[in-house]
């Protein structure tokens, strides 16, 4: 009786080994499922939380940030610093310096939630490595946005040109508006080049982009 049991056990054990071999053979015939990392990368999922970044507005090619400081106040670890300036021709302030201290950021997302103008979002950037602590403790998001804008401009030349022209036009209009009352006191030598050049740009939005120097006067 026990001999029979032993034989049956041996037989069923051997059969289970063959089952195992069949499973691995079946797996081996399927295509490989790994990603060859440096050569190919996965698309990050929609809800991936990288460090926060400034959103590039696809219409203007700039940030939407108005430097309202709500994100700074929302941040529980106090790791955001925002500085804004008022540019000529724009109704709201625009961001000039957005520094994130990524060493203390806990990626809680309060800043993204707090932002009234949808100007910040999580980046999909996971390849973050550096030899310098400053690259994380003083992460310059404006600089990153500028780099992104450059790439964007190269990829969409029409949209970039339109955006640049629009901003130049707005600037010119803004420059022209305060320039009129200033005509009288201002010396003719300084005032004359500005009015002559600005209406042309304002009238023709698709004209080549001019340098926004005139506003200095």
């Amino acid at each position: 009786m026990s001999l029979l049991t032993a034989l049956r056990d041996t037989y069923s054990g051997f059969k289970s080994l063959l089952t195992g071999l069949r499973i691995t053979a079946r797996e081996a015939s399927k295509p490989s499922i790994t990603v060859q990392y440096p050569h190919e990368t996965l698309k990050m999922p929609e809800r991936f939380r990288g460090h926060v970044k400034l959103v590039l507005d696809p219409v203007t090619g700039k940030s939407r940030c108005t430097s309202c400081n709500l994100c700074v106040r929302a941040c529980p670890s106090d790791c955001i610093t925002v500085e804004g300036i008022k540019r000529e021709g724009e109704k709201k302030k625009s961001v000039s310096e957005y520094t994130l201290d990524f060493t203390t950021c806990s990626l809680c997302g309060s800043c993204v939630e707090a932002c009234p103008s949808d100007a910040i979002e999580y980046s999909k950037d996971y390849n973050v490595v550096s030899l310098h602590r400053e690259d994380f403790s003083r992460m310059d998001l404006v600089k990153k946005l500028e780099a992104e804008a450059k790439v964007w401009a190269e990829k969409n030349p029409e949209a970039a040109a339109a955006a640049a022209a629009a901003s130049a036009a707005a600037m010119a209009a803004a420059a022209a508006a305060p320039a009129k009352p200033a005509v009288a006191p201002a010396p003719a030598s300084a005032a004359t080049p500005t009015p002559t050049s600005t209406p042309a740009a304002a009238a023709n939005p698709v004209a080549p982009v001019r340098s926004p120097e005139p506003k200095t006067t």
Binding site: A6, L21, T24, A25, E27, A28, K30, S32, T34, Q36
Partner: protein, 342 residues
């Protein structure tokens, strides 16, 4: 042809040929192993060095050669250095007996089978010496395991081989292959009219071969998760490299032997196309088929526990192989006895 029969030329050819064959096999079986592991785990395996990883063994070899071979203080330096050589020598000797085809055999010997088994058992002594000379507790535990494992598996293996010897009646490997000519049904594996348990005999031989070469799932000599690297713990650089090469050389020898004894060696499975280089082709095909199975088994089954390893040998393999031995003897001799008396 007469030039090839001059003794020194023959020795030289054998040395160069076998060393090249063993070296190339050891190098590229490592790659095949890693590629096979990758395939089974659904990843591509090493694929950066060269086209699709074809240069990976070269890179590994350069790395191993560039490393320093350390002899730890307090060890038996002579034994420590001798162990890798002793583990490498037996497979090189054994391959001299293996007939790759009817005419491609380094040295024809009418007791080739005995020769292979006597040299094959040196392997375990070399592993034991390596572990002992290392003066390392993990290495010594591993050596003890290797010895008891090899003793346990030598018995069913030899019982199986004796069964086969009773069928073939010769120890001449080439003669054994000649007897299996004329198609797949003449192979010893399928000679069920001699002994209905012949396929079981082959499975036992194969299992014992895995255990003798210390392959997973019986890789007690190198149980990484328990014993660091087992008997190889203190070896670095090419000392380790030689042990590694010897493992694959032993697999080649074991699979060649299984091919010769059970799968008809260089005989064609269909009865035609079995002469000259065709023979070598068939032999290598069967050999690499078996080696592939060895790799497949390694990446399918986890390592067994040590007592279940010994249980398998003493409680299952030895009784079954003894039974097949008796059955074969009975089936061969009973007709004779019957004719004697009736």
């Amino acid at each position: 042809m007469s030039f090839l029969q001059i003794e020194p030329v023959r020795i030289l050819l054998y040395l160069v040929g076998i060393c090249a064959f063993v070296g190339a096999n050891a190098a590229y079986l490592v790659l095949a192993e890693r590629k096979g592991a990758g395939r089974i785990q659904r990843r591509p395996g090493p694929n950066e060095a060269g086209f699709g990883g074809i240069l990976q063994p070269v890179a590994d070899g350069i790395k191993l050669l560039a490393k320093q071979v350390m002899v730890p203080p307090g060890t038996d330096a002579l034994l420590f250095r001798a162990a890798p050589l002793m583990v490498m020598a037996p497979p090189l000797m054994c391959l001299a007996m293996i007939p790759f085809s009817d005419s491609i055999v380094a040295r024809h010997l009418n007791v080739g089978l005995l020769f292979v088994f006597s040299f094959g058992s040196i392997n375990v002594m070399a592993l034991m010496l390596g572990g002992w000379a290392s003066r390392n507790k993990f290495a010594i535990i591993s050596s003890a395991r290797v010895v008891s494992q090899n003793v346990a598996y030598e018995i069913p293996m030899l019982l199986v081989v004796i069964t086969l010897l009773m069928v073939t009646g010769t120890m001449d490997l080439n003669e054994i292959i000649h007897q299996q000519g004329g198609g797949i049904w003449h192979w010893n594996l399928f000679k069920v009219w001699v002994n209905p348990l012949m396929p079981v005999t082959f499975v036992i031989f194969f299992i014992c071969m895995l255990a003798e070469t210390n392959r997973a799932p019986f890789d007690m000599a190198e149980a990484e998760s328990e014993l660091v690297a087992g008997a190889f713990t203190e070896y670095g650089g090419m000392g380790f490299g030689v042990f590694f090469m010897a493992e694959y050389a032993n697999i080649v020898v074991g699979c060649s032997l299984a091919t010769v004894l059970f799968l008809g060696g260089w005989q064609s499975p269909i009865g035609v196309l079995s002469g000259g280089l065709w023979g070598a082709g068939w032999f290598l095909l069967k050999l690499y088929g078996l080696i592939f199975t060895v790799i497949w088994i390694r990446w399918t089954f986890p390592r067994t526990q040590f007592y279940s390893l010994l249980n398998l040998s003493w409680k299952i393999l030895i009784p079954i192989s003894l039974f097949t031995l008796l059955l074969t003897g009975a089936m061969m001799k009973l007709p004779v006895v019957y004719h004697q008396f009736f």
